[in-house]
Amino acid sequence: MNVLVCVKQIPDPAVPGELDPETKTLKREGKLILDDSDAYGVEMSLQLAEKAGGGEVTLVSMAPNDEVSGLRTALAMGAAKAILVSDPELQGSDSLATAKVIAKAVERAGDVDLVVTATESTDGYTGTIPAQVAELLGWPSLTFAKHVEIGDGKVTIQRQTEAGYDMVEAPLPAVVSVTAGVVEPRYPSFKGIMAAKNKPVDNAKVADLGLSGDQVGWAGARQEIVSIEAAPERQAGEKIEDEGDAHERIVAFLEQLKVI
């Protein structure tokens, strides 16, 4: 079974983000890393391919400046190869344009049974791309999965709901988005890290995917950022050191608010 997993390479979330005053987009010029959210999708894909007893895990990433550092992490975990779409024309792309790129990359990869994504990226978090990709491919989408199984040509998931979860199944090929915490992502072994250096990365441009420049980037986004301003700040209140009696202060605070 061949699985294609979407991975995003993002600025380290531990470093405070900044907007480029010229383009009004997130600054993404430093070293990028594999989005933590995607490590679950990579792990899930590797496990599903292993269980199916064959097939490959292929990565797809759209990133500026031919960035591969996050891809190398996922290749070191065990993915076989990657498709990297990096093109200045993509700057400013919104979620729909990104979905168009990914759908075309799925077609480029060929012979894909399952597309796995995170539910949303850590830096963009629209949460719409999985179902957009599925719609463009004409495939079913099973989103917000907290458990995934493959068998008899179909995929079955536990889909997160407000009340608990639903069992959802669909025939392959299909798109599945997985929530964080579904599996324990493996740490790349030394051998994996060395092997990742020689795994193939297929570099594709927008034109190679059969998309035109006006479908992606700023032109395709059809939206305009009109202002960026600081939000009103919330003020800090009292801060105390616990010396064994801090709980009394909390009780008093709750009493004053009449919640107890």
Binding site: P13, T119, G164, G181, V226, I228, A231, E241, A246
Partner: protein
Amino acid sequence: MPIGKVWVFAESDEGKASTASLELLTKARELGDTVEAVLVDSSPDAIAPELGEHGAAKVYAADPGTSLTGVMGGAALAKLIEEHKPDLILFDQSYDGRDALARLSAKLDLPTLTNGSAIEVDGDSVTVATAIFGGNTIVKTTFSGPKPFLACLRPKSFAAEAGGGGAGEVVKVEGVDAGRAGEAQVTDHHVEEREGPKLEDAEVVVSGGRGLGSAENYEPLVEELAKLLKGASGASRAIVDAGWVPYAKQVGQTGKTVKPKVYIAIGISGATQHMVGMKGSDNIVAINKDAEAPIFSIADLGVVGDATKVVPKLIEALKAKGG
């Protein structure tokens, strides 16, 4: 042409209209002259009256059968838009809301603005405000493509208020075909038992983070305290990612937005990811070992201390008062 017709993609929750749907309808009344709802549910007659009271003159209702609500929602909307030509459609940033929005945007090749916390109409122009970087920066974006404009808004962005309208007229929508997407079938529903109120509706929310030390401490510290305060329990992304608690409990940018009367953060440092989901709370209490933790910058009462020592004493004291 100014914005005339505003639609809300309405959702149900335990057999009633979801709170977020009512919030969106309330806001929609301010934005356009005609407000209507599109509902994908097998029992629309139970939900339409509430949608009507909150502003929906009509409720277009499609039955999803055993297909996914969001998937059928996208297909139903595409079919209805062609005939009725709305100017603006509002979605809740929920599981099914995002599915419906995503499917529709790809079907009609329309851009989307998501994660909105405010929306304004000025003549023909619609602007959506989104909080980024943990809520310290507000970005406003306008649509510049064709209509309908598709906007997805976070729950709790507006207050829900009935507008004195009658029950919404239910208009059944038949023959919705989602193609291969409709082959995803719901075969079973599992309802997880929940004690006390829902996370989004609770007056008191108690959330735990890494500072709890271990997964085993979540139940006796966070859940127990929430129960005593008749509140709901939540979590930071760090412990959801670590598999300590399910995703449904996550408060933050990629989780739920809560605005309770009191929010108690236990062992949560206050990553920007978390703060955006809770900084709208009326009152915030934080307990954390690290005196420099960012959570203290927004806490009304900050306790620098070990959560595993402070919380058991707090629980004891509350039990003593209650007993």
